[in-house]
């Protein structure tokens, strides 16, 4: 057979693939058509349309909300490095084996239990109102600062558990191999265990980061005007809920590309380093 031409098997498989694509497209089209046809038949559809799907309100609010969203992104971006660093520290501490580190291990357990046991919102109130209440001078009394600290402390506890699961998921024989080559405990962790652990936990980690991205909006409850708060202001001013819809759209604009990109990166990495997928 010449390289350019297709074998009978390849022709058959291509036909099969086409058939699956047609089925997928058709079924999606039917579902969308049903929604478009049925929803407007609902009794209160007209009222919902004017209060939630108001194009003029959308156009008016969108730039303002986008501007307010910058603060969300800022809070998110400066919190993440601290969350990851603190979470790694806590996870590594919990996985340490030296008897001398027992007090630290206990502290790490107590920390994760307490932070995860209380709603994020409550921590934001407690830390965000509590610490500035101590009467420190600027900039140490900023609710923005302490709200972020509350996010960092709570999310680090969740992310630490993700990392811990990842570290424990790396088979002990990997550590044995590393140690047998003369690598120290820390070197084994850094070069052998952590790289494998982190790769495995990227999906749950992304999950936590997407949550964080949304929970950043909770900081608005102690003062800062970010997107959720701005949407609330617009809603009250115009007695229309469309700003909320616009805010939702803005959140999606960020989170969807974020998750799709990580999935794509993961898949690429998997393909580079692994055996081929079984059928």
């Amino acid at each position: 057979m010449t390289p350019g031409s297709l074998s009978r098997r390849q022709i058959f498989e291509r036909a099969q693939r086409r058939k699956s694509a047609v089925i997928a497209t058709a079924s999606s089209a039917i579902v969308i058509a049903l929604i478009v046809a049925l929803v407007p038949k609902m009794p209160r559809w007209d009222r919902v349309r004017t209060s939630f799907f108001n194009a003029e309100r959308f156009r008016d609010s969108f730039p303002r909300l986008l501007h307010a969203f910058i603060l969300d992104i800022k809070i998110f971006s400066w919190s993440v490095p601290f969350i990851v660093a603190l979470a790694l520290l806590v996870a590594i501490t919990r996985n340490s084996r030296s008897p001398a580190l027992l007090p630290l291990r206990v502290a790490a357990i107590v920390y994760t239990d307490i932070m995860r046991g209380v709603p994020v919102l409550l921590w934001i109130y407690l830390i965000g109102f509590g610490v500035p209440g101590l009467g420190m001078d600027r900039p140490w009394n900023s609710p923005l600062l302490w709200g972020s600290v509350a996010l960092v402390l709570t999310y680090a506890a969740y992310v630490a558990e993700v990392f811990r699961a990842g570290i424990e998921g790396v088979h002990e024989s990997q550590r044995a191999a590393a140690r047998s080559l003369g690598l120290s405990n820390m070197q084994s962790l850094r070069f052998v265990v952590l790289p494998q652990a982190i790769r495995r936990v990227i999906p749950p980690l992304m999950n936590d980061l997407v949550s964080l991205q949304k929970d950043v909006a909770l900081v608005s409850l102690i003062g800062p005007v970010e997107i959720l708060r701005q949407a609330g202001i617009d809603k009250s001013k115009f007695a229309n809920f469309t700003p909320y819809l616009a805010a939702a759209a803005i959140f999606l604009l960020l989170t969807i590309p974020l998750t799709r990109t990580t999935d794509w990166l993961l898949e690429r990495e998997r393909r580079r380093t692994s055996a081929t997928r079984v059928r």
């Binding site: 044995a176 047998s180 080559l181 380093t273 692994s274 055996a275």
Partner: protein, 249 residues
């Protein structure tokens, strides 16, 4: 008499209630090849892991060049730098290419530069017929290729003692021959080799000393001629008989 390279003195190892090694004593002379044979589950892998301080021993002493390395608080890293190990299940690092698997410890433990470490690694890959695999990841290689990569990784560190756990189990007869040659070659460089194996021919042809382990005890040890030719213990005879019946000798 010279001090043995490694001395095991009444080494006992328990996992909870089971005693896996029961007062094992063994002197391993410098530059010799010692084979540990015996039925599955008799404690061969555990013995090798104890020598490399990967298992904590419950009783006894372990001497390297006459120094007790089993005393608590002894830095295991200095020992492991001198004693290399190839694991029964290879234990290559799946997130690294073969080349990185080999150079990691060269760079981080021996402090070699990347270039020098890679040169040394490539030399070994050529010797083990893995030239074209330096950028492959462990999951993309056959069992035999992984096994050879694991041997190359341990050998690259130029240890004084090499512990080999079933290194021929995934190889075809031709490669078994090649690995055998490598073992002989390593021995000619003065390396001390301890190998656990089910490959009786391998043990008979390469070793200076053969030890038969059964239920955590060394029930017989001697030259290959003694152990395979005129075994003293009834248990050894039974074991060898079964091996012969299975066509493995």
């Amino acid at each position: 008499m010279t001090t043995p390279k490694i001395s095991l003195r009444d080494i006992t190892k328990r996992f909870d209630a089971i005693t896996v090694l029961d007062a094992v004593s063994l002197d391993i002379e410098s530059g010799s090849v010692v084979s540990i044979i015996g039925p599955s589950g008799s404690g061969k892998s555990t013995l090798l892991r104890c020598i490399n301080l990967l298992e904590h021993i419950d009783d006894g002493e372990l001497l390297l060049d006459g120094t007790d390395i089993s005393i608590p608080g002894f830095d295991p890293n200095t020992v492991r730098r001198r004693i290399g190990m190839v694991f029964q299940s290879y234990n290559l690092f799946p997130h690294m290419s073969v080349l990185d698997n080999i150079t990691l410890a060269l760079r981080r433990v021996l402090g070699l530069s990347r270039v020098i470490a890679q040169d040394r690694a490539r030399e070994l890959l050529t010797r083990f017929a893995l030239d074209d695999k330096e950028n492959a990841f462990p999951d993309q290689m056959s069992g035999g290729q992984q096994q050879r990569a694991a041997i190359a990784r341990a050998v690259a560190m130029e240890p004084e003692v090499l512990l080999l756990d079933e290194i021929t189990s995934a190889l075809d007869p031709e490669l078994v021959g090649e690995v055998l040659d490598v073992v002989r070659e390593l021995r000619s460089t003065g390396m001390t080799i301890v190998l656990a194996t089910h490959e009786m021919g391998f043990a008979r042809d390469t070793s200076d000393l053969v030890c038969v382990l059964d239920g955590g005890r060394i029930i017989e040890s001697g030259s290959p001629a003694q152990v395979f030719g005129a075994p003293q213990q009834e248990r050894t005879q039974q074991f060898l008989q079964r091996v012969i019946n299975a066509g493995r000798l």
